[in-house]
Amino acid sequence: MPHSRLLTLALSTVLLSACNTTPTQPNSSTTVRVSPSDILPEGSPASLYYAKGNELYERWAASDEDLGFTLMLASMQLSNAVAQQPDNVLYQLTDYNAYASLMSSQDEYDEGAVLERFNTLHPIVQTEAITPAFISFSRARYAEAPLSELIEHMLRATEQNPFNPQNWYFLAELYGEAEMRWLAIGAADVAHTLLPDHGAYSYEKGWNFYELALDNACRSQQRALLTRASSLFAEAALKDQQNGYFFAHSSDTYLRLGLVPLAAAQAQRAVALERSPTALSTQFGALFYQSRFDEAWVVLKQLSPQEDSSVLHYQLMESWHALSQNYSVAAHQQLLSDMAAVDQHEGIHFYRVLQPLFARGLPALDQKSVELDQEDWEITEYLAGREKRQDFIELASSGCEKERRQFYLAVREELVSPAADGQHFREHHNKPNQERLLWEAYWSHLLSHTSGKLPGA
């Protein structure tokens, strides 16, 4: 949308507020108040009124003090400029923004009055101006209004100012919060159409496709949704090449799609931009699935369990890997001890997976404290040898459940059973369905690259 960029070139930085973001946060406390030179004599030319009004408005916007009089004076000066040059779109926009800011700072906000003023703006300028309903939304959000009310305000904002992409973007975020994914996608889509070069809009759209994909786990459309999400994340990363977050999410979706080399490349870009837990986590995943375990463990050391609870589980995998490479009783005991430290409800999959792999020493499951649901109990019983194979399979309800049970079947029959040599397991579970990236998928990959048993199992 070239015009908005062109206008932006002509306009001052105060337009951050015009793009429906909050006013610029001050870097330092600015307490310059009004001085006599700020008040222009009557009959001053429009350009002076505008310059002074704009200066006062910026001063107000940059300050953390309550400079209500400064804003009022800014609004007066800008009104004078517009009175003389009503067709100058720059004057119109700044005057309106100051007025809207003034109105929004009152105890009671009159959206109708602001809308009336908004409707007098040149259509081009409206796109850049603060939407009256957006102010209502901001005030409601500050007051912690319910999500439904916030959505109402933003819907109104998009009606009042449909060509401002930020309105649609905020609406998309709200719909996303409300888990109304398709509406979120629709709203993000409009924002994206209005401003195709803005990475955040592609990302928002992609995020909702991603969430939809997770909601459709193990269903036929999941892959298509993930594919859509991945292309949108990649598009966002391409448009905003300094945003590590976009690269990290792009990497994550590639990983889920099994496109490990692409995932690795995006993860590398993400980490180069910012060594955030998200970026490092995706890098860990990419290395892990490339079977570059030693490098993966190095990355793992930069992650903190306090920031990401998954880290504990990765650490256990690391311990298992180390144990399988170089067995010692002491290390075995240490692993058992580490496992005991993991919350059993959280780490139930360890118990499922590892129970049959440890002949002894694995702490017994405290059924009551773990609070297993029916499925978990059946899996645990099966792995413990107390449930029959036939029942185990037939009792699966969802598609995901079936897949999961197949995995545990393989663990028991191809890895753990006395006759198993692990070869079949390694051949068939090296690349499990990674779209869900459930813990079983991780173990599937790890187990297929390490020996399936421990000494004495």
Binding site: H122, V125, E152
Partner: protein, 740 residues
């Protein structure tokens, strides 16, 4: 530009003498020397770095029979090479019909004291006439003295004597201390510092003289009576140099000047002129025939008649001043003019008056002093008028009318706006009426620019410049008489824009007597990097065409008041045409200017998808002190450096969406699911959620198996807060496998 109907008088040399000429000769007998010897003058202290007039002495005598004689002595010391160049040639104009001119002597003395006289072969009398189509009794004496170099003093003395008195009862003269010398390049003049000035006049004792003094000239002469005569003497010492500059005020406001005359009543001039014209105003057979040839309506109005006569003279009578041996004051009879098909201003005026009277229109000749002749003080009478025009008094049928038929294809009624404010004498034989020519309409121009965007992203500016008054007259006259006019027009208009690809231009109506001339031009501009251009407008565009915005003298160099007596009105109307899918937006504007020197105001308007900027420039007549001129100059520089009005065509997204939808409808029709889907999407993007419901529902009803239709319906329902319906619609879309 005025039609020439005058004696060829340099406007400032008028101050020396307007009436007095003589046949050339060097006096056979030594004339009385009016000034000290050159040896004595060598001792005079130098007071100027360039040149200085040591003595400027005039001695005149009016005799009882009205004849007169006047001797003039001038001595000048040149002190630098530039002055030596300027004074290398002395020229003294005169009219050999009315007077004789005798060169008494001309000599030089060098700084070393070497004296040399004028050589016979360095002097010439020549008939100069008046230029193209101008046959008059004008002559000039011209000579070059030897040894003109820095430090030399040159002197010359000449005597004029009357031969024929154009108006017997009138003796008048004007005098200043200065000798006005043309610059060697012919593009200016100089009036150097004067050490000693004296004007002595002897008149018969019973002759009453009226006199007026200006700009410091002594208003009370020394007067003595002896020998039945009165002797007047005026003198001045150490008069500073006057620098020739542009936009100088009236000379008598800053150059010490004396006017004197034996008359103060202009009715004498009326009677004298009437005596020259009265017998020429009758409707002779030739005049009647000319009147019959006019194409008049059945019941012509006064205006019809004025126009018809004007048109007749323009189409049938060429301008020629043919008055050799006739003195130049008496017109030819209309029959003669009709016979030869030419005549000067007097000839054309009497013919026009005769024709109008034959048509029943009251009309008179009127004498007018054009700006070339000056703008005289009329408290003393002299023959100041150098042009004649037609005056038709107000009647029941119309206002006062003035007609000037002498301009070459000038717009009716042919009156130059430069004549406004000039002295005018309506000649009626009943005492006449001395007045000043009223304002003749605005001097104005309007620059119209229409900007369009080309398909390739380039631009077109269609320009039309309408003109009035002196602006129109100047352009029309220039265009008619210029040889390389097409090239000149291109160069002239190139000041409007500096980055164009091509320019075609023309002057329209330059020969049309009834419609003003105007300029047409078309500029084309190549596409910019930005596919949608930005259009600019500045009042300086038209100012560069019609004012001196680019060549005002620096205030530091200015010596005299700044005098610009012609008000000017300039208007601009700029229209930026919108394009489909784009709206013009004003992204930069300018403040108006209000000052005593000029005012600039602006109006803007968004209209019918276009954007209009109107600028109005008004400059009154200016008479500025040096300090005021500095302020004026600085204001002009500010205007020159000011930014411009900028209008940018920006995306009109609502319109673009509508266009896209219309195109879709055109391609696939408007009664199918695909169209209704597109329509619903368009309405969503325009924020018209409730309006989007109907097409969204229609799409689904027409194509229940379309996942996209259900998806769009789901969106529309969601944005209309129909949450449950929206969820169901999305579920169906999902089931149908649609992924947006």
């Amino acid at each position: 530009m005025l039609p020439r109907c005058t004696l060829p008088l340099s406007h400032l040399l008028l101050l020396v003498s307007t009436l007095l000429v003589s046949a050339l000769s060097i006096a056979d007998t030594p004339a009385e020397r009016l000034a000290p010897t050159l040896d004595e003058q060598l001792k005079i202290k130098v007071r100027s770095d360039d040149a200085e007039t040591l003595y400027s002495i005039t001695k005149g005598e009016l005799k009882a029979d009205g004849q007169w004689q006047r001797s003039v002595y001038i001595s000048i010391r040149v002190n630098d090479v530039a002055s030596a160049r300027d004074y290398g040639r002395i020229a003294i104009p005169y009219n050999h019909y009315y007077s004789d001119l005798t060169l008494d002597f001309a000599n030089t003395i060098t700084a070393a004291g070497k004296k040399t006289s004028l050589a016979d072969d360095a002097m010439q009398q020549r008939v100069t006439g008046g230029g193209q189509d101008f046959y008059s009794d004008s002559s000039e004496l011209v000579f070059s003295l030897p040894d003109i170099s820095p430090g030399s003093i040159l002197e010359f003395q000449y005597t004029r004597s009357s031969k024929i008195l154009p108006m017997a009862s009138l003796y008048a003269d004007r005098s200043t201390p200065y000798w006005f010398q043309s610059s060697v390049g012919g593009d200016g003049w100089r009036a150097d510092y004067v050490h000693h000035y004296e004007y002595a006049l002897t008149v018969p004792a019973d002759t009453e003289l009226a006199m007026e003094a200006f700009a410091g000239f002594p208003d009370s002469p020394k007067v003595t009576s002896r020998d039945n005569a009165k002797h007047y003497t005026w003198s001045m010492e150490h008069i500073p140099q006057v620098k020739s500059e542009g936009w100088m005020p009236l000379a008598r406001t800053f150059i010490p000047t004396l006017h004197y005359s034996t008359l103060t009543d202009w009715s004498a001039v009326d009677a004298w002129t009437w005596g020259n014209v009265a017998d020429k105003l009758a409707d002779s057979d030739a005049v009647k025939k000319a009147v019959r040839s006019l194409e008049l309506p059945a019941k012509p109005t006064r205006d019809d008649k004025l126009r018809a006569v004007y048109g007749y003279l323009q189409n049938n009578v060429r301008y020629v001043f043919a008055h050799l041996g006739r003195g130049g004051y008496e017109p030819h009879f209309p029959d003669e003019v009709l016979d030869v098909s030419y005549g000067d201003c007097k000839d054309q005026t009497v013919l026009a008056v005769a024709m109008l009277r034959a048509l029943g229109v009251e009309a008179y000749p009127a004498l007018i002093e054009t700006p070339r002749a000056g703008n005289s003080d009329t408290r003393t009478v002299s023959l100041i008028f150098d042009h004649m025009i037609v005056h038709a008094p107000a009647e029941r049928e119309g206002q006062i009318a003035w007609l000037d038929t002498t301009g070459d294809r000038s717009l009716f009624p042919g009156m130059s706006n430069y004549l406004a404010g000039q002295n005018t004498l309506i000649v009626n034989g009943r005492g006449g009426e001395l007045t000043r020519m009223p304002e003749l309409g605005a001097n104005a121009a309007t620059l119209n620019i229409d900007y369009h965007t080309r398909e390739d992203g380039g631009s077109i500016a269609e320009v039309r410049i309408d003109m009035q008054g002196s602006v129109e007259q100047n352009v029309r006259n220039w265009w008619i008489h210029s040889t390389d006019r097409d090239n000149a027009l291109q160069q002239y208009l190139s000041t409007l824009f500096n980055n164009y690809e091509s320019l075609t231009a023309d002057v329209v109506n330059s020969e049309n007597l009834w419609q003003p001339a105007y300029l047409n031009a078309r500029f084309e501009f190549a596409p910019d990097e930005d596919p949608i251009p930005t259009y600019g407008a500045s009042i300086t565009q038209i100012m560069r065409l019609f004012t001196s915005i680019g060549n005002l003298p620096l205030p530091e160099t200015r010596k005299s008041r700044f005098y610009d007596i012609y008000p000017l009105e300039l208007d601009m109307q700029v229209r930026v045409h919108g394009q489909e899918g784009y709206l013009p937006a004003l992204i930069h504007s300018l403040d108006p200017h209000e000052s005593p020197y000029l005012s600039i105001r602006y109006n803007t308007e968004a209209k019918d998808g276009d954007f209009l900027i109107q600028a109005h420039y008004r400059k009154p007549a200016l008479d500025l002190s040096l300090e005021q001129y500095r302020s004026y100059y600085e204001l002009i520089q500010t205007l020159n450096n000011e930014n411009v009005w900028l209008v940018k065509l920006l995306d009109d997204q609502a319109q673009q969406l509508d266009q896209k939808l219309a195109l879709t409808g055109h391609k696939i029709g408007t009664q199918n699911a695909e169209y209704f889907i597109a329509q619903a999407r368009t309405l969503i993007e325009k924020g018209q959620f409730s309006e989007a419901l109907e097409p969204a529902r229609k799409a689904v009803s027409m194509q229940e198996g379309s996942g996209e239709a259900w998806y769009v319906l789901g969106m529309v329902q969601g944005f209309n807060a129909l949450v449950e319906e929206s969820t169901r619609s999305f579920e169906v879309a999902e089931q149908l496998g649609y992924i947006p």
